[in-house]
């Protein structure tokens, strides 16, 4: 990182380095590392206040990465597959926090599938990143539920089962922000993460993040080689912070869709080869299924619908974080107890 950039500080007076974490213990070249770096960049760009952010994860190489970014934020590296429930509780306790959840394809697609789906049903407000490499990295390369059907791996043998599509599952479960990206496409990852952090409820970002140790053969849809060759962005994504104006350099407006995000910021989706409307649920699913059939690797904001309230809104919670309520607000006065005792006399 060049000196100049390092000392430059953002709106809250922090340098990019202030958003860093401990040194990574992941393999050199692991996709998860590059994603961690994008999280750092995004937090810096958005000038997040570290203490307003929490980092959550399950168990796995991917789930280790919260240790490698935002060292000044609280976090919880929880149990395998159970980060959704833990995160739901944390955000019930303090709705003011912005949660960045990091999970893996095994953590989310295998052991954690049930909790993942129910998290989405509740629309808990958090950015849920799946670092998807098609294998269990930390346990040395077994197939996960997102592994390609029929794939052969030297150690794991052949995978007889169809792959679970994290994005399809998310849309089916009613998630209002579903994106897919590729660890090798740093810019897109960044713009999507910024948008996800501005979303009203759960924002799922399924990032293909190659495991260089166990699943990086070019024939694997989870490899760098495959991603670089076949990634097909549905649109070019630009995140526009709340304050800023949208500038559409000379092209017909028709080519760019502007999406209004929950916190007032915006997202510009510039048309590439095909017309794609992220707001059409059946169309999104249909597109995913076709991509699956044709072995296309589509990336971008697959589906967006900000209409559903998040859990805190749906349950009409007070704005004050429950964790900050004073004893006076938590414990009713003696008179109330007397009144209730009367009833049971």
């Amino acid at each position: 990182m060049d000196r100049a950039k390092a000392i430059k500080s953002n709106a809250v007076g922090l340098a990019k380095a202030d958003y860093g974490g401990g040194p990574s213990t992941l393999c050199v070249g692991c996709g998860h590392n590059s994603i961690a770096n994008q999280v750092i960049q995004v937090a810096f760009d958005l000038a997040l206040k570290p203490h307003e952010v929490i980092k959550l994860s399950g168990i796995g190489c991917s789930s280790k990465s919260p240790a490698y970014f935002l060292g000044m934020s609280h976090g919880f590296n929880s149990l395998h597959g159970r980060m959704p429930s833990l995160g739901t509780g944390a955000l019930m306790a303090n709705r003011g926090l912005r949660a960045i959840g990091v999970s893996g394809d095994g953590d989310t697609g295998s052991i954690g599938l049930g909790q993942f789906k129910h998290l989405l049903r509740r629309n808990v407000r958090m950015t849920y990143v799946v670092e998807n490499n098609g294998v269990y990295g930390l346990t040395k390369g077994q197939f996960s539920a997102t592994a390609d059907e029929g794939q052969e791996l030297k150690y794991a043998g052949q995978n007889e089962f169809p792959a679970i599509d994290i994005c399809l599952e998310a849309i089916a479960a009613g998630c209002g922000f579903v994106a897919r990206s590729f660890a090798g496409d740093a810019k897109q990852v960044r713009e999507l993460l910024k948008a996800a952090l501005s979303h009203r409820g759960t924002a799922v970002v399924d990032i293909i993040s190659p495991c260089v140790a166990f699943n990086n053969e070019d024939t694997s849809t989870k490899s760098y080689g495959y991603g670089r060759e076949f990634e097909r962005p549905l649109h070019e994504i630009g995140y526009v912070p709340i304050a800023e104006e949208i500038v559409l350099e000379g092209q017909e407006p028709g080519e760019v869709r502007v999406v209004e995000l929950h916190d007032g910021s915006k997202l510009t989706l510039r048309k590439l080869e095909e017309e794609y409307d992220s707001s059409d649920r059946p169309a999104a699913i249909d597109r995913l299924l076709r991509a699956e059939e044709d072995g296309e690797f589509i990336t971008g904001l697959l589906y967006y619908d900000p209409s559903r309230p998040d859990l805190a809104e749906a349950s009409r919670m007070v704005q004050t974080p429950l964790s900050e309520l004073s004893q006076e607000r938590l414990r009713p006065p003696p008179a109330v107890l007397d009144r209730i005792m009367q009833r049971y006399g």
Partner: protein, 615 residues
């Protein structure tokens, strides 16, 4: 419950042995709405000032299976289960067996439409023409079944001597403002009361007369008390998954919170979420506890099994959490609607590795309330999950008790450092034992001092919460956790002792079995056997327990499970006294009776005496 001394000497002459002193059973079919009728009777006795308690013996089904409701009226204030002498026989499916198991000279109020011929001539029976009595009403189907139950209320009231006005009061309690319902029910009650007056000639000894023993007392279920306690304990997050017999605790909690913790603008200063299962429920509770809310869940055996992994995380990452286990009969799905104390051993070290958990044992509605409040103080002070072990009998049935005392102490939120405090101290290490009590300091997400941040984890860590595989880091952290557990021994509620002069036998027990035990002790005392009683209220045990055990050389550990779980725990923790413990363990789903307990204790004492003779 009512300690005997709080019962004023009955104003009914003692000569009349069955006056205000008998048990009755109502046998009906599940889902016919007999609960209203039964609770009306229960409340009526209570309002007459007579100590009373009711037990619902119901099946794991929604409609049609046999169900029983036991009511014990006791001028002496005994509320343990005792075999019924008076039967309301309204269920064709069980009438034969119900009648067969009655003691000599028992009385039966039967639904005449069952056309049941009594084989026993020692019984006093009354036949109530239910259909006929309902002819007046144009009610149909379910409503008719439901009203049918009101007929035995009326007849019993007449036979036992409960004034109609009291029944009306009781119905009023039940239906609150819905006066129309009170009226329609009273109509039936009066009809059958009248019929009984006209047609029955009272020949049985069972009667009630007003007392003042329940004055100033309340009556509610343990689960309602636990919910209320939790509210006054400041709970703000609850996550749960439905399971009998814990569901009614959460139902009550939702009710109280909606009533007491809704702001003017209608927003809620709490959140109760129905999770997709218990594994998720405890996950939400641990997440909320970590983030600084007072969070709880309630469940029963199967849910406890699913909570094992998160319990271990809560213990090891040191996160406050409160888990109510309303015990039912296990292993496995077992008997979902029957009571037990079978989860003690499992919960005590729930979680693999060296996980050890704090347990509270409420025995009354007062303690359900008290522990509802204090469980949060303990959980936050100790930064660990606290398990409150109640049971179906205590939780789902109605018990008398003194009105609950408003918490004397302010909440103890434990060792939580604010940004300012961190600044004073010039920093913070999450797992450092600053105070020597094994309890570290913690910070909450949202703390604006960057030094407050740490990454909680279930993996090995050093004092700064940094991942570590160093052998000495693991050992030191484990030793600190053990120290913390010892601190718990000093912090948790002390046992309740009753050690009369000249006790020749000692008893250790916990929870709802106290009622049968207390009654049994009174009986034995009359028979000349004086016993000491230690009622355990928490695990791990503290000094008081050790001292008590040290003072007695024969100690019966009475518990409602098969394996004598607490007895084994005590032997393990007090090896020097291991031989003093005798396990009196029993489980068949029914609450213990004083008869059974006193018989066992008597055998034990006799064994002693034999021992003395032979030796």
């Amino acid at each position: 419950m009512v300690e005997t001394q709080t019962v004023p000497e009955s104003d009914a002459g003692r000569g009349d042995s069955k006056l205000n002193d008998f048990s009755l059973a109502v046998a009906t079919a599940n889902g016919t709405g007999s609960q209203t009728a039964n609770l009306t009777l229960l409340r009526a006795f209570f309002k007459m000032g007579i100590p009373v308690h009711g037990k619902n013996i119901f099946p794991s089904n929604i409609q049609g299976l046999p169900t029983w409701y036991h009511i014990r009226v006791s001028r002496d204030g005994y509320v343990a289960r005792s075999e019924p002498e008076l039967l309301v026989a309204f269920n064709r499916a069980t009438i034969r067996e119900d009648v067969a198991t009655l003691p000599d000279g028992a009385a039966v109020l039967a639904n005449a439409d069952l056309k049941y011929e009594f084989e026993r001539d020692d019984l006093l029976s009354y036949r109530l023409p239910v259909k006929e009595l309902l002819e007046g009403t144009e009610a149909k189907g379910k409503l008719k079944d439901y009203l049918a139950n009101m007929t035995y209320v009326g007849a019993l009231a007449q036979l036992l001597g409960v004034p109609l006005s009291v029944i009306e009061e009781a119905l009023g309690f039940h239906f609150g403002r819905r006066q129309k319902l009170v009226a329609s029910n009273m109509a039936i009650v009066e009809a059958s009361f009248g019929y009984s007056e006209r047609e029955f000639t009272k020949r049985d000894p069972y009667r009630v007369a007003p007392m003042s023993a329940t004055e100033g007392l309340i009556m509610m279920t343990g689960n309602e008390a636990a919910a209320l306690g939790s509210v006054f304990g400041g709970v703000s997050v609850a996550a749960w998954y439905p399971i009998t017999p814990s569901t009614s605790l959460i139902d009550a909690l939702r009710g109280y919170l909606a009533e007491l913790r809704t702001e003017e603008d209608g927003s809620a200063s709490f959140n109760v979420v129905q999770a997709e299962d218990e594994l998720a429920a405890i996950g939400m509770v641990v997440g909320a506890g970590w983030a600084g809310a007072r969070a709880m869940t309630a469940t029963s055996g199967p849910g406890i099994s699913l909570m094992a992994e998160f319990a271990g995380l809560g213990y090891f990452a040191e996160v406050p959490a409160v888990v109510w286990d309303i015990q039912r009969v296990g292993p496995s799905t077992g008997l979902p609607t029957r009571t037990s104390q079978g989860d003690v051993a499992f919960v005590y070290n729930l979680g693999h590795g060296d996980t050890r958990n704090v347990i509270l044992f409420p025995s009354s509605i007062e303690e359900c309330f008290e522990f509802g409040v204090k469980s949060f103080d303990f959980a936050e002070r100790l930064q660990t999950p606290v398990f409150v072990l109640s049971d179906l009998d205590l939780g789902m049935n109605n018990w008398m008790g003194r009105p609950f005392e408003y918490p004397a102490e302010p909440m103890d939120r434990g060792k939580v450092l604010s940004a300012a405090e961190i600044d004073e101290r010039g920093g913070f290490s999450r797992y450092l034992d600053n105070d020597g009590d094994g309890v570290p300091y913690r910070t909450l997400p949202g703390n604006s001092d960057p030094r407050s941040a740490y990454l909680a984890r279930g993996t090995g860590h050093d004092e700064h919460a940094v991942y570590s595989e160093r052998p000495e880091d693991w050992r030191h952290n484990g030793e600190r956790l053990a120290r913390k557990f010892d601190s718990a021994r000093r912090l948790l509620p002390e046992p309740i002792l009753d050690e009369p002069e000249g006790s020749t036998l000692a008893i250790v027990a916990f929870g709802s079995t106290r009622y049968a035990i207390e009654e049994a002790r009174d009986r034995l005392a009359v028979a000349g056997l004086t016993s000491a009683f230690l009622r355990l209220r928490a695990l791990p045990i503290g000094e008081k327990v050790r001292e008590f055990v040290g003072r007695h050389d024969r100690i019966a550990v009475v518990e409602m499970n098969r394996d004598g779980q607490l007895c084994a725990i005590l032997r393990g923790e007090l090896p020097e006294f291991a031989t003093r413990f005798e396990s009196i363990a029993y489980l068949d789903g029914m609450p213990l009776t004083a008869e059974w307990v006193s018989a066992r204790l008597d055998e034990l004492a006799a064994g002693d005496r034999k021992g003395e003779q032979s030796g």
